[in-house]
């Protein structure tokens, strides 16, 4: 997805709105880059023999990388003037390299708190079969129109 060119504002947003999806398919190279960037060198993410030795079908995508995809999903939606207050997810299902991972979000609440215009969302990644592998939630602060 290209970065947002027009600012989304608090006034534009309605409960139930779906935000623009972010599509990824991790190469094994991307997983190695993530290992270096995050400091997570657990071998199930880059060593197929090691991964199979633990009972997995093969190497799997890091949960924290999928969480970072959700961070990008939200950042790209609220940029340039919004602020990502909170985001996170549970790692419920495995994702594998070279399979599509789609990050999605839907607005669940909009409200004001301490003078800030806030929006809550349900966020998740889904695998190629459409199964939600990382259900989560987020809160963003948006500018007004």
């Amino acid at each position: 997805m290209a970065l947002n060119t027009s600012q989304v504002t608090f006034d534009d947003v309605n409960v139930g709105d779906e935000i623009p999806a972010l599509r990824k398919a991790c190469t094994t190279q991307q997983l190695v880059m993530w290992a270096a960037a995050s400091g997570d060198f657990y071998q199930i993410h880059y060593d197929p023999d090691f991964a199979r030795g633990t009972g997995l079908d093969g190497i799997i995508v890091h949960g924290a990388l999928k969480n970072a995809f959700l961070g990008q999903l939200l950042h790209d939606w609220i940029a340039p003037a919004g602020f990502l207050r909170r985001f996170g997810c549970q790692y419920r299902g495995m994702d594998y390299p070279n399979q599509e991972i789609v990050s999605r979000g839907i607005v669940t609440r909009k409200y004001e708190q301490d003078g800030q215009a806030l929006v809550d969302l349900d966020i998740w990644t889904e695998n190629a079969a459409g199964k939600k592998t990382t259900p989560g939630t987020a809160t963003v602060m948006l500018p007004r129109r």
């Binding site: 290209a2 970065l3 990824k24 991307q30 880059m33 993530w34 270096a36 960037a37 995050s38 400091g39 997570d40 060198f41 657990y42 071998q43 633990t54 949960g63 924290a64 990388l65 969480n67 970072a68 995809f69 961070g71 990008q72 939200l74 950042h75 790209d76 940029a79 340039p80 602020f83 990502l84 207050r85 909170r86 985001f87 996170g88 997810c89 549970q90 790692y91 990382t134 989560g136 939630t137």
Partner: protein, 159 residues
């Protein structure tokens, strides 16, 4: 449900803060993390773009809270916060159950962040993979000027 494996000793650790050390939010660290995710916003790569958007410096992408300065590398296992690494748990396998980041301020290159972690709760469950222990933890990240800039909430599953 089998007997609880949460000992009195383990319960005593709840709420006790453990120092996780210092991490530097570096320009290279921000760019490496942003590339690994596939970010396209120039504020994660270019200092001038970040400043033009009102930030103090190149911005740390969501989830990057610095590169530890310690020579230690807990690689080879799921990286877990120090209080959990100290636990003596009879289950041998371990999974990262989930993570959430809360930002109080933007984190930018040049920030030096000290983090402190604590266990907040234990939960025992009988899941499809057998009995499991879920340990909930929380980390606070404090910038060099004393401001808490972010918190991380997570859970680790032992089974």
């Amino acid at each position: 449900m089998p007997d609880s494996i949460v000992s009195a000793e383990m319960r005593d650790l709840i709420g006790r803060e453990v120092d996780e050390g210092v991490a530097e939010v570096t320009t290279s660290g921000c760019r490496l993390f942003a590339r690994a995710v596939g970010h396209t916003d120039p504020i994660f790569y270019d200092d001038d773009s970040a400043r033009a958007r009102g930030y103090r410096a190149l911005v740390a992408p969501p989830g990057y809270l610095g590169t530890p300065v310690s020579p230690q590398n807990r690689g080879g296992m799921v990286p877990v916060p120090a209080p959990i690494a100290q636990l003596r748990i009879p289950y041998r396998r371990q999974l990262d159950g989930g993570t959430a980041y809360e930002y109080l301020e933007p984190v930018v290159a040049g920030d030096v962040v000290t983090s402190r972690s604590k266990i907040t709760r234990f939960e025992e469950r009988l899941g499809s993979i057998g009995p499991m222990l879920i340990t909930y933890h929380e980390t606070a990240y404090t910038r060099q000027d004393g401001t808490v800039v972010a918190r991380m909430y997570g859970n680790v599953i032992h089974y």
